[in-house]
Symmetry: C2
Subunit: 268 residues, 2 copies
């Protein structure tokens, strides 16, 4: 593989990040890790999510990843910046790039952020946005992940829940979609907030940040992708197709083998 970047998420949501990365940075290959045996991370204790993030990062480095992208907002919020000190390769989370994109987008200085319970309760977005001098409204939306994973992104259920979670929000001109699943709810969210509110997506924000850092690349359009999944492969393919991004081989991985070191892979 060519300078592979390891991308991981609690499940399939991070495929939206993978999609943005391979479009902006096609001269890298990608190792995608979907921790589908332990999804969702959103309500799990912070220490548990930190351990998962460290196990998975070490595994990806062992498989040859030259950089790590934590596609999952919950895992980014729980594990950074400490994880960066423990890894021998650079690691990016989605929160910093999201905050930077919102800072550039807002004209009124009033910004909102929605995410899982873990992401919002960590205060990771709020602290950084406030440090940038912005007024912040934040709300945990635990059910929105499931609306997407059930293939109900364009449904009455999605509209009902989005309206519920965004009710009572103050005036704002920018809203951060602080979860990799939410880009798939973009239409429902835009309908509720109206056309004048800018929606910031993690996937585009991190892809821009990496392109700035590593340099855009041209002359190649078809990166190689390998997926590792801790849950069932057939179920993963099914949900990935619902989300609309599945390419490359899918290898099963026994989650019980993911102790810190050494890490073994069922099919290697």
């Amino acid at each position: 593989m060519q300078h592979p970047i390891g991308v991981f998420d609690s499940g399939v949501g991070g495929l939206t990040v993978l999609k943005a990365l391979r479009r902006r940075l096609p001269c890298h290959d990608y190792l995608y890790f979907g921790d589908t045996a332990r999804v969702p991370y959103g309500r799990k204790p912070r220490e548990m999510v930190k351990t998962f993030a460290e196990q998975i990062s070490n595994f990806l480095v062992d498989q040859g990843a030259e950089a790590i992208v934590i596609a999952c907002n919950t895992a980014s919020a729980a594990s950074l910046p400490e994880l960066a000190d423990k890894l021998p390769v650079p690691v990016w989370g989605v929160i910093g790039p999201g905050v930077e994109a919102a800072r550039r987008a807002t004209k009124t200085g009033r910004v909102g952020v929605i995410g899982t319970r873990g992401t919002i309760d960590s205060g990771a977005y709020q602290r950084r946005l406030e440090a940038a001098g912005l007024q912040v409204w934040a709300r945990a939306c635990p059910m929105l992940v499931h609306v997407v994973e059930e293939g109900l992104a364009n449904s009455e259920e999605a509209d009902v829940l989005v309206r519920h979670y965004l009710s009572g929000r103050p005036e704002m001109d920018t809203l951060i979609l602080g979860c990799t699943h939410y880009p798939l709810l973009r239409d429902a969210i835009q309908r509720v907030v109206g056309p004048d509110v800018m929606l910031v997506e993690s996937a585009e924000a991190i892809a821009s940040a990496l392109a700035d850092e590593l340099g855009e690349c041209t002359g190649r359009s078809d990166p190689q992708i390998r997926h590792y999944v801790t849950g069932d492969v057939v179920a993963y393919r099914h949900t990935a197709q619902v989300i609309g991004e599945l390419d490359g081989e899918v290898l099963p991985l026994d989650v019980t083998s993911l102790s810190r070191k050494p890490v073994s892979c069922a099919k290697m």
Copy 2:
């Protein structure tokens, strides 16, 4: 173990069935199988769910189960009656007992049933209820499983979604909760349908059916329970505690080892 009964579900929802069984039939021990690496079953293709049910039943028989209870409505709808012909021990699903309980409960002959997409689309409840001469209204409620697994059974989200799913229903005096997770939403559902509608739960219905068949037993109050889970053990304990039923040892099982025969267990 003493005449162990194997109980399985796509995940933790079947613990409501286990709870009812151990209360009514404490002279049996129990093997509970939670297929948490492949949960949810509700939207997966029928053939896939049938294969899962057969793999798990064979595994439980190999571990000594003298009878199988399919706690999951989706798996009952997908795999019965064919699975009964393939197993060397008796197998019960939750649909027959639920229909029987509704038939006895209704006075007006107008009955409703709610469940996952897989359960409702299979028509398993509807066919049997209509064969019993009842008028049936049925609705798939795919998000309700997730409300429970997120620990949001008593929340605004639960009320919003229950109202959404039950809107537009006709007059009825009995409603079957056709999913093992729904008993945890009993209060929210009862508030919406009003106090005069009888709610029928799979867990109580199957426990009554088994007690009728095997005979009530007394003189023992503390069955031994062993849990097998295909996903992460720590995550399983966490969600089981959210649901409020966790007792006995929990053993991890590599889902890739669940080929039809022979079946091996990571920790045995």
